[in-house]
């Protein structure tokens, strides 16, 4: 059954959309990440213009993170103050990202920048995750616990000025790395159509030393705030959010996420991180191959100044 998407101006099979939403939702529920980094490329590969794909996926991420935030708020594992700092800086980053997006599209270099960013970020993060998970698995089998870095031992980040106290996370750190991190994630989110959870979670744990119990809920809050703003901005400036496309992905996504979360609970932490790392790495490699291999079609056509 085909459904005509009014903003994308093309029909797409509604079951394919629900299925893509559900599959990505399943993985995101299993790994606790938003899944935008999978969904946006999937939509682009299935023929939706990158402009509409990136903008519409941001609305799907809003729905996904909203249901997640509610669950973590009930468990009271969200640092609202840290989330607010990250969200406000994320909004600034997102505004810059939406602007850069438009400028790159105008000069025809958006696709290559998106591909390069995917290769760089997914490659790096995927590699780090996979290596860390393999080391954890090996250590567990040998019975030698990995040296755990104590939360008190801060690096150069501790020396920065403008310190702020975050009670819930039991942190007294400079606001500068917090704001930089939030802005960077917001920028990437708008440019690449990703929530950025897979970058934010390790950054909060390893760079800012936020307690692991607080990390997911706070990240989801930041994703919700930043992506709601991105959806609004993409609608207001680029008019590329397809609400019908977004809705189909949301419905598939939120249902898939519930089953994914159940599946995730039956897997061990290290196995989960290894699988996620490999998945992230695979998407990055797919983009790398496209960049390096000689394309079958050297020419492309697009509307001047638009999609």
């Amino acid at each position: 059954m085909d459904l005509y998407l009014p903003i994308a101006e093309m029909p797409m099979n509604v079951f394919l959309l629900l299925g893509m939403g559900a599959a990505v939702g399943f993985l995101s529920g299993m790994f606790g990440v938003g899944g935008g980094f999978l969904l946006t490329p999937l939509l682009i590969f299935s023929g939706i213009s990158p402009a509409v794909a990136v903008a519409s996926v941001s609305s799907q991420i809003v729905a996904n993170s909203a249901s997640g935030v509610l669950a973590y708020l009930r468990k009271k594992t969200v640092d609202l103050k840290l989330g607010l700092y990250l969200t406000l800086s994320g909004i600034i980053g997102s505004a810059i990202g939406v602007w850069v997006y438009g400028a790159l599209r105008g000069v025809g270099q958006l696709d290559v920048v998106i591909a390069l960013c995917y290769v760089a970020f997914l490659g790096t993060i995927g590699m780090l995750m996979a290596v860390e998970a393999v080391r954890a698995i090996i250590a567990k089998q040998r019975g030698t616990p990995l040296p755990v870095r104590r939360p008190g031992q801060h690096s150069w980040i501790a020396g920065l000025p403008l310190r702020v106290r975050f009670h819930r996370s039991r942190l007294y750190i400079s606001a500068l790395p917090v704001i930089t991190l939030g802005a960077a994630i917001g920028f990437l989110g708008a440019l690449l159509g990703i929530g950025g959870g897979f970058i934010m979670v390790p950054a909060l744990i390893y760079l800012l030393r936020v307690p692991t119990t607080i990390v997911i809920g706070t990240t989801l809050l930041q994703t919700l705030g930043t992506m709601a703003f991105t959806t609004f901005m993409q609608s207001a400036t680029n008019q590329t959010v397809d609400v019908i496309l977004g809705l189909a992905l949301m419905v598939g996504g939120v249902v898939g996420a519930q089953f994914g979360a159940r599946a995730g609970q039956s897997l061990r932490g290290e196995t989960l991180r290894l699988l996620l790392g490999l998945l992230v790495l695979a998407v990055g490699l797919r983009f790398a191959v496209d960049l390096v291999a000689k394309p079958e079609e050297l020419y492309s056509i697009s509307r001047m100044g638009g999609s």
Binding site: M1, D2, L3, Y4, P6, I7, E9, M10, P11, S59, Q60, V62, A63, N64, S65, A66, S67, G68, L70, A71, R74, G108, Q109, D111, V112, L116, A228, T231, F232, M233, Q234, S235, A236, T237, Q239, V241, V243, I244, G246, L247, M250, V251, V254, V255, A257, Q258, L291, V292, A293, K294, P295, E297, L298, Y299, S300, I301, S302, R303, M304, G305
Partner: protein, 253 residues
């Protein structure tokens, strides 16, 4: 003096007394509406060649060409080149006013219908359609970017040539069905019918029709374009509501 100007007037008017054929054409629809289940559609162009006793006898058969032209748009063609090991868009060329859709149907192979000079003046055919400026007596000069534009538009199904797609039902009556693919651009379309005989253009008609989104689809598009802030806000509210609903529906504690 008066007699001479009268004579001149008669000489000027004389060819029109020897009447040429007239074309009468009609479209099967004046408005194609795109609803939520739209997967493509079609339009049929009908026509008759009207002639009477004054019409000169033709040695060659009638040939008809029908074109369906979508809204004109500025386009850019780009070419990828290898830079530092990766393929990126390097060179580009602007095509300031080109159709977003062009279907051509003919009764016979294009080259047999009319010669290049006649088609060049009308901008008729993929090889004669000007990508910069207006049709001219000389065929347009094609760059590699123009070639890529025509090739890619055909690959996307937006440009098509159907030689033999116009069918004469009787010596005077013809019909040309033209398919509209699912990715057909929205806007005003012009159906142009050309009547040829022996390589000469005898008559030409144009008719407009529109391809518009249906009520619900159009309402969403209007909101997105005219009230973008409200549309954005509504989308965020819908997303938050969906998320909340899922959270409540699947709550396990």
């Amino acid at each position: 003096m008066i007699a001479r100007s009268l004579l001149a007037a008669i000489l000027v008017l004389a060819p029109s007394l020897l009447r040429a054929e007239t074309l009468v054409t009609a479209l099967s629809t004046e408005r194609v509406s795109i609803e939520s289940n739209f997967t493509g559609s079609g339009v049929v162009i009908f026509g008759t060649v009207e002639r009477d006793q004054q019409t000169v006898a033709r040695g060659a058969p009638y040939e008809v060409v029908v074109t369906l032209t979508g809204p004109l748009r500025p386009m850019v063609a780009r070419r990828k080149e290898r830079v530092a090991g990766i393929w990126i868009n390097r060179t580009s060329s602007e095509l300031p006013r080109v159709p977003s859709f062009l279907a051509i149907a003919t009764t016979a192979p294009m080259a047999d219908v009319a010669g290049n000079p006649v088609r060049a003046r009308q901008g008729l055919g993929f090889d004669m359609l000007p990508t910069r400026g207006l049709p001219d007596a000389l065929p347009p000069i094609r760059t590699e970017f123009d070639g890529a534009f025509f090739r890619l538009m055909q690959k996307e199904g937006l440009f098509s040539l159907n030689e033999g797609g116009v069918e004469f039902l009787s010596p005077q009556l013809f019909r040309a069905p033209i398919a509209l693919p699912s990715n057909v651009p929205i806007g005003w379309y012009t159906a142009t019918v050309y009547l040829f005989s022996g390589g000469a253009l005898l008559a030409k008609t144009t008719q407009d029709f529109s391809i518009l989104k249906g009520g619900f689809e159009q309402a969403i598009t209007n909101l997105a374009h005219r009230q973008p802030a409200l549309y954005g806000l509504a989308t965020v509210v819908v997303a938050c509501f969906t998320g909340w609903l899922a959270g409540v529906a699947f709550r396990r504690d």
